[in-house]
Amino acid sequence: MNGAHDLGGMHGFGNVNPEQNEPVFHEEWEKRVLGLFVPVSAAGPFCVDEFRARIERMGATNYLSTSYYEHWLHAFETLAVEKGVVTKEELKAGKSFTPRGESMPPVLAKDVPYISSHGSSARIDKAITPKFKAGNLVMVNNNHPEHHTRCPRYARDKLGSIEKDNGVFVFPDTAAHGQGDSPQHCYSVRFDAQELWGSEASEKDSVYIDLWDDYLTLA
């Protein structure tokens, strides 16, 4: 969707303001939100694409005026309700209204070292014929879907070259909406900065974007 999250190339946000000696967290509640990611996504369950899609739908004004961990919190609440794990009323009351069920066991502290050091790759071990190969010139399809997509607006309708085939990955556009993994190749695609931003950009510079088969057409 063409949401406020798709920031590449926008103006008006001012300078970058790095904080010196920034702590890992600024507030205690941010820690809880970070720590809840693994157990909540297991309880849903939900994948990272579903998570991102909920953040993107929180509304442009809301998205831009809230912090990173508030985005996460919004996605947790939305997905926990959508997946039937909790009700809105329970979240409002801060207590469960139904007895503890026979649900799957929660992530335990003893599982954390293994989970954090292994993660869960979106790579899919499946032989699928790639549509493109390194060196191919490709156009990014000029699509403006209302659903979740990882094709940034600034790359659409632009000419790039396939730098490298990264292999087969889950396709976010379908996975975000419970429509399956649609496994397909994902490539590193190189764009001249001038193709993206015009002649003001340096002819030396380039932007590399990871894009899936379905976003591209052979030029």
């Binding site: 926008m10 904080e19 794990v85 329970e90 139904t98 069920g101 929660p106 070292p113 993206l196």
Partner: protein
Amino acid sequence: MSDHDHNHDHANSRPLTDVELRVKALEQVLTEKGLVDPSAVDALIETYETKVGPHNGAQVVARAWTDPEYKKRLLINGTEAIAELGYSGIQGEDMVVVENTSNIHNVLVCTLCSCYPWPTLGLPPVWYKSAPYRSRVVSQPREVLKEFGVELDKNTEVRVWDSTAELRYMVLPERPQGTELLSENELSSLVTRDSMIGVEVLKTAESQGVSE
């Protein structure tokens, strides 16, 4: 305790904010349902607050600077080479390492959210997640780098990596001159988080005050 007591931060004796109440409610409801074990939440916090951070990535960089064979493996298959040092996991499942040289400067961003290589760099700083950085570094990388104190020669090629998929990038910064005699350990202490994002160029050991 009454509800009243629940809704105050005792350390600061102020009412909890709306966000704090929401976080508390979510964790409480899920815990009561047996879906969240708060000690697992504590363990995850501890992992990312104390164990996982840019010191991990710095070890990878120092190894690459001192072991040409390792560097070769790192640039060909970042995931496997980084796993050799034990820094794998969430948000680093598929790693790509890009090398800065005397005429190529790489810099990382995620314009769509804030993807970042957690196992090697830790959790991202606020500026990396902010709209100013995400909006501008793709279109005006040289200006943004200038704000970080990096002035690039006009002949240097700038490559911006927008992490739109599940690959996570990390910059292998150039080894500063004058560090030939330093050990791998000493070298790793020179490597900063920002140099591995690509918004800093490392200075010589001397100007960083490291004795040889």
